[in-house]
Amino acid sequence: MQNVLVYVQHKNGQTPKVTFEMATQARKLADQLGGKAHALVVGAGSSQLAQTLKTYPLDTVHVNDDADVDRYLLDPVIDYLEAAAKAIGPSLVLVANTLTGKDVAGRLVARLNAGICADAVDFKLEGGKVVAVMPKLGGAAITNCELLAGDYGVVTIRPNAFAAQAGGSGAAVQAIEKPAGKNYGVVVEKDVEESSGELALEEAPVVVAGGRGLGGPEPFDTLLKPLASALGGAVGASRAAADAGWVPYSLQIGQTGKTVSPPLYIAVGISGAIQHKVGMRSSGTIVAINKDGQSPIAEFSDLLVVGDAFAIVPELTKLVQAAKS
C-alpha cells in the first residue's frame, strides 16, 4: 500500500461533505506512505463535481460520466474502482462509512483481496504500517487495527471525524476508460431522492436531539428546530420518539439507528438509555436538559441542566441568535 484512492459517492454531482474530508486526509496519508492521492468519480454529474474536487489536495481525479453507473446498482462502480485501483497499483482505498460505502467496501474486500478497517476516526502511520483507529461496540471500545502488508487495503471513514481543507496545486482531472468488468445485472428501475444528497444528521456539526420527555411530535418543530437552526445543526431523536411516531426513523440516533459524533450534541428530554448512548457517546461535547437529575444521561454528559426544557430551550435559542447577530 503506497497510494491512496478515494471513492467519491455522489448523485448527479451532489456529494456529502465526508468526500472532502477524505480528499484532505488522502493527501496526508499519501505523503506519509510516499505515494499519490487519487479520487474516482463516476456517473452522471461527475465532470462537474471533479471541478470542485480538484481544489482539494489530490494528485489525480479519475472521471467518467458513464450513465450505466446510475442505471445499475453499484456493479459498474465496483468495476471502475477495481480497474482504477489496479491501474494505480498497491493502494489504500478510502470509502465513506455510509449505506452505499459499506456495500462498496465489502465488495472491494473480495475484488482486491484486501483487508478492511471500518468506521475509522483517526489514522496512525508508523514505519510504513497503516493503523486505523475505530470506536467499536457502540463506543464501548476504541480499537487500533493494522492493515497487514498486502497490495490493497480498504478503510471506511466516519463522517465528521476528519477536517476538510481545500488547497494544493490543483489535481489533474483525467478520463478513465470504461472497464469490461462483470455486471451482475441489478437494474435500478426507480430512484427517488428525499434529501438533496446531504447526510444531514451524520454530518451536522451540532445535533439537537429530543426524546420521550418532549411528549409529542410538535416540540421537534417548535422547540428543537429553531435551536438547531440557530446553531447551524440538525435535529435528531431517541428511539422512544421514533417508535412513538413523533419523528421518522431516519432521525433516530443509537443502536438500530444512526451513529453521530458531532462536536456538540444537545440531548433534550432524553434519559440516556444504552440504545441511545451507543449512537452518540463519542460526540465532542454533550449537553443534556432533563427534568430528572438522576437520569442515566448524567453519567456521560459534560453538562446536565436539570429543569424544564420547554422554558430553557426557547431562551437558549434567543441567546444563540443574539450572539450571532
Binding site: G185, V188, V305, E315
Partner: protein, 262 residues
C-alpha cells in the same frame, strides 16, 4: 425455492458493554450471546417470502460460530426456519472480515441457494462489509437495504433505502439481499415453534469440507487488532439545577461559550 439466511451470534446489544482495562477484552460476565438483531430482520424477510411463495420453499439458517453456541441457533428455528447449518472449526478463530467472508462464501456455495439473505450489519463488529464480500466471492448479484421484497417472473424485486431516499431495483436469481430495519419487526417464536425447534436439524460443517485455497483464522487474515481498550474516560460532568428557563439557558450558553462552541 431455497432461501438461506446467514446469522451471527453476538453479545447482547442491550447490555452495557465494558472493556476490562487489564485483559483488554470484553467483560462477558452477565452478557448473553444472542442472534444479531439485524439478522432477525433478515430471517423475518425470509419467512415472509416463504409464506408468499409457498410450495416447496425452504429457509435454512447458517452461522459460523464455536460449537458451544449451537443452541443459540434454536431461536431462529423456533421463529420458523426449517433447518440450520453450523460452520465450526478452531481453524477459523480470529478470522477478520476477509477471511471469514471467504470461508462463509465457500460454505454457502456447498449449501446452495436461490436467495441468500444477510443482515445489513452486525451489532458487534459493525463493519457492514460482509454482505458485499460474500456476494463477490459467490459471483452473485447483490441488493442491499431492502424494505420490501417480492419474487415475480423469476426475479427479485425490492424497494431499498439509500443514503438520501429510496430505489426500486430488480435482480436476477440466484442473488443475495440484505434487509433494512424498516422491513418489518421480526416475529416472536410461538410456543409451538419453540417445541418444534427442538426436533429440527442443525447440521455441522468443518473447514476441511470447504476445500479452501487460502489459510483462514488469525494467521490467514489481512488485518490485525493491535489494541482494544476502553474509551477515554469522560469525567462526570457538571450538574446544574435551573431555577427557571432564563437561568438554565444562561448556564448552557456560558458553558458553550467557554468551549468556543457558539
Amino acid at each position: 425455492m431455497k432461501i438461506v439466511v446467514t446469522v451471527k451470534l453476538v453479545p447482547d446489544p442491550n447490555a452495557d458493554k465494558r472493556i476490562d482495562a487489564g485483559t483488554k477484552r470484553l467483560v462477558r460476565t452477565g452478557v448473553e450471546t444472542v442472534l444479531n438483531p439485524y439478522d432477525e430482520y433478515a430471517l423475518e424477510a425470509a419467512l415472509q417470502l416463504k409464506e408468499k411463495t409457498g410450495g416447496d420453499t425452504t429457509v435454512t439458517v447458517f452461522t459460523m460460530a464455536p460449537e458451544s453456541l449451537k443452541e443459540t441457533l434454536r431461536k431462529a428455528l423456533a421463529m420458523g426456519a426449517d433447518d440450520a447449518v453450523l460452520l465450526s472449526d478452531a481453524a477459523l478463530e480470529g478470522s477478520d472480515v476477509w477471511a471469514s467472508s471467504y470461508a462463509i462464501s465457500r460454505a454457502l456455495k456447498k449449501i446452495g441457494f436461490d436467495l441468500l439473505i444477510v443482515g445489513g450489519l452486525s451489532d458487534d463488529g459493525s463493519t457492514g462489509a460482509t454482505p458485499g464480500a460474500l456476494a463477490e466471492y459467490l459471483q452473485t448479484p447483490l441488493v442491499t437495504n431492502a424494505r420490501k421484497a417480492e419474487i415475480a417472473d423469476g426475479k427479485l424485486k425490492i424497494e431499498r433505502e439509500t443514503d438520501t431516499g429510496y430505489q426500486d431495483v430488480t435482480a436476477p436469481l440466484p442473488c443475495a439481499m440484505t434487509t433494512a430495519l424498516t422491513f418489518g419487526e421480526p416475529r416472536y417464536a410461538s410456543l409451538k415453534g419453540i417445541m418444534g425447534a427442538k426436533k429440527k436439524t442443525i447440521a455441522a460443517l468443518t473447514v476441511a469440507e470447504l476445500g479452501l485455497e487460502h489459510a483462514v483464522g488469525q494467521g490467514g487474515s489481512k488485518t490485525a487488532l493491535l489494541s482494544f481498550a476502553p474509551p477515554p474516560v469522560r469525567g462526570k460532568g457538571q450538574v446544574i439545577e435551573a431555577a427557571d428557563g432564563a437561568s438554565g439557558a444562561k448556564a448552557i450558553f456560558d458553558f458553550l461559550k467557554e468551549r468556543k462552541l457558539v
